[in-house]
């Protein structure tokens, strides 16, 4: 014990076979968990695609639904696709500028304490269930005035705002401080530095955040049930009236007794799924590209 040499017995592992077995077991469980996550995605996409196949044609996108149709009638969900386009478009127009301004304020101008507090508020807002936002907008706008596309878009914008603001904050924080100092050191005002030097660096990231937010709210049903769901079957682009949307159409068709309606619901779900899949992939591609650009500019 008192010698300075190392006793070979100290280096010998205790219980090696048992530890190897535990290691292998844990690895297997972790791998299985990862595979399960992927499998769920594959099963969802595949089962939706399989059930959608029957109703997936151009009519789905171009024809309005025909109520109380008996027998095979050419009909689609054009009204829902048009409505979703208007709702999500308007929501983006509302949430994007506000979200970007919030992020610019927090990263470029706010005191650290304000920044942490407001960031926390954004995270809380992000965590509020969509149905609560729906009830809130229902109480705020719909009661007394009736449903409208504006109300639906506003509800979706409330959901988008924290997503856009957080994503923009992240890319703004990536812009090196030395770039701001370079501009401020010339005697250029703060607002001009932000506008001409900082923001152009982050456009890729802001677009990515916006796309992800669009993908997220395009599938939201709950806030629209309260705000924009009592609709006719005609395609309408007018946000002053309630507009049909894909998620709400899926919900309503799934309750119908007609199996044809079920098929159309599946088809609409499949289109929505594809839309979200591709926008997410596109956003990822844009994000890596803009991140690489930012990395090179240091």
């Amino acid at each position: 014990m008192s010698s300075h040499g190392i006793n070979p017995a100290d280096l010998r592992a205790v219980n090696l076979p048992r530890r190897r077995a535990v290691n292998r077991g844990m690895e297997a469980i972790a791998t299985l968990a990862a595979l399960t996550a992927v499998a769920i995605l594959v099963v969802v996409v595949w089962s939706v695609a399989r059930r959608a196949a029957g109703a997936l044609d151009l009519n789905l996108l171009t024809k309005d639904p025909v109520p109380f149709a008996f027998g095979p009638v050419e009909q689609g969900l054009a009204n829902a696709f048009a409505g979703s386009l208007v709702l999500v478009g308007l929501a983006t127009l509302m949430a994007l500028p506000v979200g970007i301004l919030v992020a610019v304020y927090l990263t470029e101008f706010a005191q650290p304490t304000v920044r942490t507090t407001v960031s926390l508020a954004l995270d809380v807002l992000n965590g509020i269930p969509a149905i609560v936002i729906g009830i809130f907008v229902f109480g705020l706008i719909v009661v007394g005035r009736g449903q409208s596309g504006w109300a639906g878009a506003f509800a979706l914008a409330c959901l988008m705002l924290p997503l856009v603001a957080r994503a923009t904050m992240e890319v703004l924080l990536l812009v090196p401080g030395s770039l701001r100092e370079a501009s401020l050191g010339l005697g250029v005002p703060r607002w001009r530095t932000t506008l001409s030097i900082v923001l152009p660096q982050t456009i890729g990231g802001i677009v990515t955040g916006a796309i992800l937010a669009v993908a997220r709210v395009a599938g939201e049903t709950a806030p629209l049930l309260f705000t924009s769901s009592i609709v006719g079957t005609q395609t309408s682009w007018n946000p002053f009236h309630a507009l049909q949307s894909i998620p709400v159409a899926i919900f309503e068709l799934s309750e119908s007794p007609d199996p044809q309606d079920h098929a159309r619901a599946w088809a609409a779900a499949f289109v929505l799924l594809l839309f979200i899949l591709f926008t997410s992939l596109g956003a990822r591609w844009l994000a890596t590209r803009s991140r690489r650009k930012l990395g090179a500019s240091r």
Partner: protein
Amino acid sequence: MTGEDENVSITIEPTVRVETRRQPIPPPERLERIFNIVNLDAIYGSKPALEGVTMEIYKNLVTAIIGPSGCGKSTYIRCLNRMNDLIPGFTQTGTISYHGQDICGKDVDPVAVRRHIGMVFQRPNPFPKSIFDNVAWGVKVLGMKDDVAGRVERALTQAALWDEVKDRLKASALSLSGGQQQRLCIARAIAVEPDVVLMDEPASALDPIATQAIEQLMHELKSEYTFVIVTHNMQQAARVADMTAFFSISRGDEGHRFGQLVEYDATEKIFTAPSDRRTEDYVTGRFG
């Protein structure tokens, strides 16, 4: 390797002997004071960085700030153009007057201060724009809209970069080497015609040849601008500076550390006959 050890041994001489390009400093009555700093204290949060700095900076001279790491050199020159305003929790007391005008007051616009007192940073930080736009952007934003191309060419020439980049002004500034990028940053700073150029260790990230180019251009431009340069490199201070200020770290009564101006004099004097023991220890390499 072993047999030749005697040949590469280094002896530290009592004074640093380096060739200088300095001319004799004019007599004090002919020097114009550009900055008059009185009793400047700088504090980060509750941590004092500088205490009681009092010195004058003269027009058309190169003033070097030397001293060990952590002595507040950078903090000090960033006070001179209100760059520290950007750091949360930073406060300063004392007065800095610039051409007799207090620049620390609440009613002073730091943007206007920086407009006259430009800055070059430790690491080259060109904008991710073309070489031309790097220089032209500031010129245009600050409203000097006449003859932008001419101003860009003049600034790049003064920064000794024009010949190297004149055929690729549209290329990205990020394609330049580190030394070229730093000269581009100097061109960007002087293109907006400041009065003073503050340089925070401008050559610390550069190789000796690029360093020499920057020292050369400071020497050539000092008839038009006033330079204040922070440097780690004593030889550099000895080569470029007319006046040298030595800062050191002191301990207060409660044991806190802060930076302090120890000695400020003509460079010649600081390096050959310093009056303070601490300066002598530093410039002869016994400390720091």
